[in-house]
Symmetry: C2
Subunit: 252 residues, 2 copies
């Protein structure tokens, strides 16, 4: 947790000692009264919080916010539903790398039961997304939905630029595709065994270009990280970024 | 397991029914006598094996090899020792993406006890590397060593082109660095909390350039995948790769 995130509605209230963020402030960051730490306002700016008071039941915090708000992300990820353990990793990793939305879609080669996992029904997925965003030192929480079919995901995702990873019928590697810098872009990645012919047809009809990532066969979660990395680099999102401020105890 | 790997010394012998590869052939691939599947000779060519006979104690296989041998990889990875669970992922993911060697080094911000994990002392790490290579449909097994300090890792890695990921003092994003296509290259990635000033000095003295991957803070394993992906793309390793042959049941 590199950045502790708060909802706007929480800012005027004390933070319960039972809240995982309070435990993190006291037990991991080991902050004493008067000391400060990095915070973020969800979908808003980053800032600093001062631990004003430690009380029996809660912590009193005071916040100072930066003027600039991190830019919104432009990439939407469509990914075939896979085993929940793989989806957990995709949720965290895509949230860390930065996307606007993630749609986990049913595909012909995915198990239909994957959509019924407790990961989705209990809201557990939200925790993984938040962990990924906090890791990234970011504030924007991607929209997530799961269980629609691929066609519905394609419609929901929209996007001006549409790319699908495919080992079998791609003719251009992803990093050779001209990807405009400031356009909403959708990246579609298949389930564990990739897309079927019918799904490739559906994607092509919807204007998707099929892209490759070399000849080595990647797992879904590896392909998601590799694909997002190449897109971030190609679209200039990794250009000229300032180094993060130095903070002892911040990861990486 | 997209490609079942064999040592040269194993080719003339029957495969014990107790071997995980035998179970994979019978229970996952469900091959019957006379049917074939994809195989690889470690550090050699890919090919096909025919299941000639199923006997009580073993399987009799016959092999046919392709003429071309996959090219050797040129990237060596130096990575700070982290929690064993993170190292397992790095082992698998880097082996899937393709490296010549991985050196897991002690760093000032890593826990010294990480080097004593059973992951390293029992040889468990070899299993993760092999899983990663089999996933990739590749045959070359990276060299792995763990426990040396960063200076020793830098010496051992050598390399003509040397790059270290650093969030704090990098001035150029990795994808903007001119990386020659056919030169041995070393990528160094820190432990969970990155490199110290002294380690940055050591790396710079050894000719390492500090590179960035945007302003979002990535976990070690995410940075490894993202960094290797950008290098593979930048050095042309993902150009013109033929699609993998179509095989029902192959992952991704």
């Amino acid at each position: 947790m590199n950045l502790i995130l708060f909802e706007k509605s929480e800012l005027a209230l004390p933070l319960s000692r039972g809240d995982p963020r309070a435990r993190h402030i006291l037990e991991v960051l080991r902050r004493a009264p008067g000391e400060s730490f990095d915070v973020g306002l969800i979908d808003g700016p980053r800032g600093r919080a001062v631990l004003a008071q430690i009380r029996d039941r809660d912590l009193v915090l005071s916040f100072t916010w930066e003027v600039t708000v991190p830019e919104p992300e432009l990439i939407t990820l469509i990914v075939g539903l896979t085993r929940p353990q793989t989806c957990r990793r995709v949720l965290r990793e895509a949230a860390t790398l930065g996307v606007a939305a993630m749609f986990f879609v049913r595909t012909e080669r995915g198990e239909p039961s994957y959509a019924d996992s407790r990961l989705w029904s209990t809201g557990e997925y939200e925790r993984h997304v938040r962990t990924g965003v906090e890791q990234a030192f970011a504030t924007r929480i991607p929209t997530v939905a799961a269980g629609m079919d691929l066609a519905a995901g394609v419609t929901k995702a929209g996007g001006r630029v549409r790319v699908a990873l495919d080992n079998y019928e791609s003719t251009t590697p992803l990093h050779r595709m001209p990807l405009p810098a400031a356009e909403p872009l959708v990246l579609a990645v298949g389930s564990e065994r990739g897309f079927t012919d019918a799904e490739r047809g559906l994607l092509r009809d919807a204007g998707y270009q099929l892209a490759g990532l070399g000849e080595r066969v990647l797992r879904t979660e590896t392909a998601v990280i590799a694909g997002l990395s190449v897109i971030k680099a190609s679209t200039g999102r990794w250009d000229g970024a300032p180094p993060v401020p130095r903070e002892p105890g911040r990861c990486c």
